[in-house]
């Protein structure tokens, strides 16, 4: 799976929603993710993609849409 598919599948698991048609949706504004959700997101990215995202580098505004998350993950590969 490529980054997009994996991220969308993680997000779908966390939020219960298929976000493939809503790539610029703000996940926090809509209440789809909260603090615990963002932690789970980082942990899933780590376990499924082997990319370690230091939690201390997490700035919410850089992770608030599916597109931003994908870009962020790609930049860390």
């Amino acid at each position: 799976m490529d980054t997009k598919e994996t991220v969308l599948s993680i997000l779908s698991d966390l939020t219960g929603s298929d976000l493939s048609n809503n790539m610029d949706e703000n996940l926090f504004d809509d209440g789809l993710l909260d603090s615990m959700g963002s932690v789970q997101l980082l942990l899933q990215i780590q376990s499924e993609m082997g990319i370690s995202v230091p939690v201390s580098e997490f700035v919410r505004s850089e992770w608030d849409t599916p597109n931003k998350i994908i870009a962020k993950v790609d930049s860390m590969k």
């Binding site: 966390l14 939020t15 219960g16 929603s17 298929d18 976000l19 048609n21 809503n22 809509d30 209440g31 603090s35 615990m36 959700g37 963002s38 932690v39 789970q40 980082l42 942990l43 230091p54 939690v55 201390s56 580098e57 997490f58 700035v59 919410r60």
Partner: protein, 509 residues
Amino acid sequence: MITNMITTIDDYGQSDPDRIAYNYLGQTHTYGELKCQSDALAAHLDQMKLPSGAPIIVFGGQTFEMIATFLGVVKSGHAYIPVDTHSAKDRVPIIAEVASPALVIAVEALPTEVPDVSVMQADELTEVFSQSVQYEMTHAVSGDETYYIIFTSGTTGKPKGVQISHSNLVSYVNWMLSDDFKLPDQPRTLSQAPYAFDLSVMDWGPTMAKGGTLVALPKAVTDNFKELFEDLPQMNLNVWVSTPSFIEICLLAPEFDAEHLPDLAVFLFCGEELTNGTAATLRAKFPQARIYNTYGPTETTVAVTGVEITADILRDYARLPIGYVKEDMTIDVVDEDLNRVPAGEKGELLISGPSMSKGYLNNPDKTAKAFIDWNGKRVYRSGDLGYQLENGLFMYDGRTDFQIKMHGYRIELEEVDHYLNRVPYVKQAVTVPHYNKNHMVDKMIAWVVPAENVHFDSELDMTKAIKSELTKGDMMPYMIPQQFVYKQSLPITPNGKVDVKSIIAEVNN
């Protein structure tokens, strides 16, 4: 030991006015300021000739002004009802409807109007705080009079206000000051839990009784982990109070350890189950610190059992004990007919003693159901299941009803359903908990049968529309399910009820 919460705090303001009471991201406030401002507010409230005995709603966030307002309110003889800024928009009017408050003090601007109640706005409060008055306390809250009222969720959508008296509070705080918890003499304590959540009493209560400093960590910081981990080392905390959920976030950062936070000597947890794994990770990172697990319903003032999680406890208990009962309290374990079960067997925990609330504000029905006379004493029916081991330690084992704890918040699933079923797009809905591998609820999943003739382009749009309906009203954000699953129909038991158990089994499969 303290005998009076208010005079204890005031005495520091007189004897040592420059002592730091509050630190908000580096901005400090002294006990002297706390005394001056709370005196000025108390004098002002006295002049307003408010109906005596009526509580005052205080709305705001993690700030010094909130603490000063609470103190001013109780000095003038009123109980306060804390409401957090991150609550549902209608939280204040909904609580006002139940509580008939004398006044709402908007430490921060209210998001919505409150019908028929006078409101003291933030600029007026600032003006009052700036006055210098000589205030003589003559009618402060004392004894069995209510000190604070914390609103929890209720099954009908109407929240319940748990009334905690000055005596309840003093009894609780003295336990925290006892040898059961080895708090430092000069606590610098994390104040992260919202003041509307009674876990916050575990930080401000003992800390202010000892003349220590509360170090605020507002939600805006905790939401951005980068900022959180930049701020934490600068806070020089020696006492940590939070839910296990919050420490789990912190434990993810490698720099969250004794090397970077060398002063941290005591960790206090309450509000949800502390797992062995979390406690073990924490111990490995802070080998010298003392870690305490505690348990208690809001109705019995914050916590009534506690135990230090030592290496022995970690080794001997895969599921951690909730602790030994507070010395002046009793916990009886009973079956469904309220008969005591044999020692060691599981049952509902009945809690009794000096930190038990007098009941729910203006709600005699719910009070009579939860606070009952049993074997010659008044006890609180906790709805929590547990058992006591031979060595005296209590173990927690779930709920008797559909109440869950998620991230420290107490949620009645029936209440969630009540809100969901009011949404016009919903024909029928049932919310069930999803458990993680530690048997803790990590999300709520709603099974929804959509109303007929409702059409959305996708399930996501439907979910968004439902969430938007839910956030419009008075539903607390933490009560909104994380996942929505759409179904043609829900499974039904032979008795014709929705088969909640089968749904729980399926989502946790």
